[in-house]
C-alpha cells in the first residue's frame, strides 16, 4: 500500500466492528488501524496522528465524546476530522457530539455506502486543507529564503541566520524605525586603484575588484561585521549593529588585521600580472551613529550615519597602504587585543571642530 495512503484510526471496543470497518476502508485504498478504547485512541492519535478518526461513542472507560473533546483541544490533533459513530435514533448523542467538536456522524448499524461517502467527503476536505497548508508553508519557506539571501549579501551568515530566527511580527531590524546606536565603523580602501582604472582594461579592473571585495567581505563576515556600503574600492563595515556585540571594538580591530592579511595574496597576484596597486589602508572609529532606512520611495538603503562613520572615513583617507589609523575611543574599545599602535597625537579632521586622538598600526 502507498505511503501516501489516507490513514484512518478506528476506535471501537467490538473486534467485529473494528475488523469490518477496517476492511471496508482498506477496500477503498485507505489504511486502517484499530484500537479498543479511548485511552488507546489518544495515545495512538498523539503518537502518530491519523488523517481521520472513526470514533464509536460507547466505549469502555472514557467515552467517545471525551476522546473527541481531548483530540480537538490538543493543537497536534485538533485538525484531524472525527466521525462519531452513534445509534441512528440517538439525536441527543449527535448534539453532544457537535459540542465535542465532531466533524460528522455515522449511524450504527453501519451502512457501507454511507461510511464510504462520509469518509471520502472528509478525506477530500482534509486533503484540500493539507494542500493549502503545504502551499502556505512552501511560500513561507521561499519568503524566508529570499530574505536570508538578501541579508547574506550584507552580513555574515551567522547574523543573517539570527535575523531569520528572530523574525517576528515587527519584521526584520531593517524594517524598524531609525535607531541611535554606539557603533564601531571600519573603512577599507584600496590604494592606487583610481590611477589603475585609467590604464587598465575594464574586465581586468572588475576582476581585481571582485577578488578584492570577495576576500575582505569574507573577513568582515568571519567577525560578524555588517557591510553597509561598497563603493568604488571602498568598503564600510560596522559592528554592534544590527545586534549588540559587547566586543565590537575587538571584532573591528581583528577584522582590519584579517582583511589586510587576506588581501595580500590577491594584490600580489595582481602585481605579478603587471598591476600597480600598493596596498589597502584602513580607518577605524567608534561612537554614536544613526541606523535606519534612508532614501526616497524609489531608492532606499539601510544606512549608517554619524560621527563614528565620519571619523573613520577621514582616517582611511589619511592611512598609508597597509596601515590602520584608529581613533582613541576605538583603540580603547578594542581592549587588550590591540597592541603595537603608535600615537599620532591629536589630529584635526575635515568637517570636525574637535581634533581626534589618532593611533597608527602597520598591518
Amino acid at each position: 500500500m502507498s505511503a501516501q495512503a489516507f490513514r484512518v484510526l478506528v476506535v471501537d471496543d467490538d473486534p467485529d466492528m473494528q475488523r469490518m470497518l477496517a476492511r471496508m476502508l482498506e477496500a477503498e485504498g485507505m489504511r486502517a488501524a484499530a484500537v479498543p478504547d479511548g485511552d488507546a485512541a489518544l495515545v495512538q492519535a498523539m503518537a502518530s496522528p491519523p488523517d481521520l478518526v472513526l470514533l464509536d461513542v460507547m466505549l469502555p472507560g472514557m467515552d467517545g465524546f471525551a476522546v473527541c473533546e481531548r483530540l480537538k483541544r490538543d493543537p497536534g490533533t485538533a485538525m484531524i476530522p472525527i466521525v462519531l459513530v452513534t445509534a441512528l435514533e440517538d439525536s441527543a448523542s449527535r448534539v453532544r457530539g457537535i459540542r465535542a467538536g465532531a466533524d460528522d456522524f455515522l449511524s450504527k448499524p453501519v451502512q457501507r455506502d454511507e461510511l464510504i461517502a462520509r469518509v471520502q467527503t472528509l478525506r477530500r476536505l482534509h486533503e484540500t486543507r493539507r494542500e493549502l497548508e503545504r502551499e502556505r508553508l512552501a511560500a513561507e519557506v521561499n519568503r524566508k529564503e529570499s530574505l536570508r539571501k538578501a541579508f547574506a549579501r550584507y552580513m555574515s551568515p551567522r547574523i543573517a541566520e539570527r535575523i531569520m530566527a528572530e523574525l517576528g511580527d515587527e519584521g526584520t531590524p531593517f524594517q524598524r524605525g531609525p535607531q541611535r546606536v554606539n557603533v564601531v565603523a571600519l573603512f577599507a580602501d584600496l590604494r592606487g586603484f583610481t590611477r589603475l582604472t585609467e590604464s587598465t582594461q575594464v574586465d581586468e579592473v572588475v576582476g581585481l575588484l571582485n577578488d578584492y571585495f570577495a576576500v575582505i567581505s569574507e573577513a568582515a563576515y568571519r567577525h560578524d561585521g555588517t557591510i553597509f556600503s561598497m563603493a568604488g574600492d571602498n568598503l564600510l563595515t560596522a559592528f554592534n549593529v544590527p545586534f549588540s556585540q559587547p566586543d565590537a571594538g575587538r571584532r573591528a580591530w581583528e577584522t582590519a588585521h584579517d582583511m589586510a592579511k587576506s588581501v595580500k595574496p590577491v594584490l600580489s597576484r595582481w602585481r605579478q600580472r603587471g598591476g600597480s596597486t600598493t596596498g589597502v589602508g584602513f580607518g577605524l572609529a567608534s561612537g554614536d551613529a544613526i541606523i535606519g532606512n534612508v532614501g526616497s520611495p524609489h531608492y532606499m538603503s539601510y544606512t549608517i550615519i554619524g560621527d563614528a562613520v565620519n571619523v573613520a572615513a577621514r582616517l582611511v583617507q589619511l592611512a598609508q597602504p597597509d596601515e590602520l589609523l584608529i581613533s582613541g575611543p576605538a583603540l580603547h574599545a578594542a581592549g587588550a587585543t590591540a597592541s603595537g599602535a603608535r600615537s599620532r597625537g591629536k589630529m584635526a579632521l575635515r568637517g570636525r571642530t574637535e581634533p581626534v586622538e589618532v593611533y597608527a598600526v602597520g598591518l
Partner: protein
C-alpha cells in the same frame, strides 16, 4: 405485546434465515459467527443471574454489529434484548435468546 415476545411471536420463514454478505467480508464471517455464539452463551449466563445491565449492553452491541455485517435479524433481536433488559422482561428475554440460538443454527449465508 412487548420486546422479545414480539420477536418470538413473529413467524420466521426461510427468507429470514438467508443473509447476503459482501464477498470481501467473507473471511471475516467465521470469526463473526463464532463471536455471536460466544455472545449467546454470555446472554444465557446473564439471564440466569438476572444481570440486566449486561443483557442491555450485549443487546446494544448486537444491534450495532448485526446489520453492519448484513445480519439484520441479529440487530432486530439485539434491539429487543436491549429493550427487554431495560424493562426487566425476563420471560421475553428468554424467548428472544432462544430465538437467537435458533437463528444462529439455521442462518444461511450467500456471498456476493
Amino acid at each position: 405485546m412487548r420486546g422479545c415476545a414480539a420477536a418470538y411471536n413473529r413467524r420466521m420463514n426461510e427468507a429470514n434465515y438467508k443473509v447476503k454478505v459482501a464477498r470481501d467480508l467473507e473471511d471475516l464471517i467465521p470469526v463473526f459467527l463464532s463471536n455471536r455464539k460466544k455472545e449467546l452463551d454470555t446472554l444465557r449466563v446473564a439471564l440466569a443471574s438476572a444481570d440486566f445491565e449486561q443483557l442491555r449492553q450485549l443487546g446494544h452491541r448486537m444491534k450495532g454489529v448485526g446489520m453492519s455485517y448484513g445480519f439484520d435479524h441479529v440487530s432486530t433481536l439485539g434491539k429487543y434484548i436491549e429493550d427487554g433488559a431495560r424493562s426487566g422482561d425476563r420471560a421475553g428475554l428468554e424467548t428472544c435468546i432462544r430465538d437467537y440460538a435458533e437463528y444462529l443454527s439455521k442462518v444461511q449465508i450467500a456471498y456476493e
